[in-house]
Symmetry: C2
Subunit: 303 residues, 2 copies
């Protein structure tokens, strides 16, 4: 199953010609989840050849402009491009009013059903689940109500060993039982333990998105051992005081959380526009957590 | 005096990688007036090396997204970039609410004074004037309340002939009188008619911005004989029925108005994204009004 992430924007605050502000696109089995939607996100979607209409759900972390100013434009373009499929948005309650006011001003009645789910910011909460994935939100530490999101694959079924399928002449009617963990008794009455003829299901992959936030260990229980942690790194460590004041994080802080949470990989982004060269940020983060990579507009990461 | 226009966006409806939607920048003696502000306009400003903070006034024609979805992002970026100077916005009354709601949601208090002037859509109205220029708005014919704008240089003073300044030994104290049209009497009592020693002031240049609108001759009195008329040309003539239904204009309609108004030059834009090649639109318009040019993102036109 596909479980991959495309970075549509890696900058903080202001769009520049080389880095757009926050937007991530998570591909879960070819269903696309958009996470944050800065101004210009729809152009990034075009630029990186993403199929617009495959976006099914949009998650907005908070109402700073660099995380949602592109949303109403995207909704409008999906409408003009003929969308008919449902679209689901998860965000701060006021976002609904912001969307409605602007669509109302232009007398736009969307051609597709739009569902809005207000986030509560109260704690760790299941906000979406289907047969493939669950999404939880949890509070971050920022100047306006902000949540992180964690996307987790659901536990999949056991996989029958292909090499034994023919040898044991396992009938099709038994397949589902084997995938669910039952033992198998063949025509001659021989009993095979499930673990002899099946393999463990693939591990449940997970992706955590944490921006904007000051350093907070309160999120550790929610991100522990995730496969990929995106954590904002607006500043280098020499600007720790600025980071604290503005409720953002530094390289070292993001890497420290990644280490404490024992995540598999750390992805850093939401860079201040003051940094043209991002390698010093990467080096600084790697000094604490070696398996760190840089978010760069347009890259795709298989999780 | 500089009086020039830079096209920041020439497309209708949806931003594409080659043409952004509506935004024009009028340079009046190095003071910049932004007219409409589609999503991505701030990136176009960067791309075409315009000095952000020189923008003094913003005029929004109507509340379709492709004319204002970039405004709140631009206001926010000006704030983050340290603006202190006043900014003045002229637009539909609801625009104020849209701005306030979004800035309020992000708890942003702008670092600079923002003045908002609601447009009335009632008729031909003076909405701004200073020592160099006047701006009037007038109603267009569209599916939501929409205005056109006309920017006119103010009448300037007469210019004293440099070749006669020394010859006639005109004292500095007389200069202002001459510029205002008075005759001159020299030390020896000789009288010189003003027109003998001064030249006519430069003609008053004007720029009219008309989008979005169906064909309407009601605007002729306001745009008559202007130096540059920007008139939307969403469609070619073979789509006249679509244009009428959607209250947009065709090539032939824009060119017919230019001809009837006896303008000096016609600039066409707000092109439907269906047109990759714009030359057929240009040719069609020129068949009626030869002095027509295409709006293309990034071009500057000296008026």
């Amino acid at each position: 199953m596909t479980f991959s992430l495309t970075i549509l924007g890696s900058n903080s605050a202001i769009p520049t010609l080389t880095r757009n502000p926050s937007a991530h696109l998570l591909n879960v089995n070819e269903r696309l989840f958009l996470i944050d939607c800065a101004e210009g996100t729809q152009l990034q979607i075009r630029k990186f050849h993403v199929h617009f209409q495959r976006i099914q759900r949009i998650f907005i972390s908070h109402l700073h402009g660099d995380h949602f100013f592109g949303l109403v434009g995207l909704l409008n373009s999906l409408h003009l491009l003929g969308r008919k499929e449902e679209l689901h948005i998860y965000g701060p309650p006021l976002l609904k009013e912001i969307i409605d006011l602007q669509l109302g001003a232009s007398k736009t009645t969307l051609n597709y059903p739009l569902f809005f789910y207000p986030l509560s910011f109260a704690g760790y909460e299941l906000i979406y689940g289907d047969d493939k994935v669950t999404v939880h939100s949890f509070p971050l530490l920022h100047s306006v109500p902000t949540v992180g999101f964690i996307f987790r694959e659901k536990k999949q079924e056991r996989r029958i060993r292909k090499d034994l399928l023919a040898e044991l002449k396992i009938p099709v009617t038994e397949m589902q039982n084997l995938k669910r963990g039952r033992d198998y008794t063949d025509e001659r009455g021989r009993v095979f333990k499930n673990e002899e003829i099946t393999l463990d299901p693939p591990s449940q992959r997970s992706y955590a998105y944490c921006t904007d936030t000051a350093y907070t260990e309160a999120i550790l229980p929610f991100i522990r051992e995730c496969d990929l942690l995106y954590h904002e790194t607006t500043f280098m460590q020499n600007m720790a005081a600025s980071a604290k004041e503005k409720q953002h994080s530094t390289t070292i802080e993001a890497a420290t959380l990644a280490k404490k949470a024992n995540v598999k990989k750390l992805l850093i982004g939401h860079f201040s526009a003051r940094y043209d060269d991002l390698l010093p940020l990467l080096e600084e983060a790697r000094s604490v957590f070696p398996n760190t990579i840089l978010a760069e507009d347009g890259i795709t990461i298989a999780i």
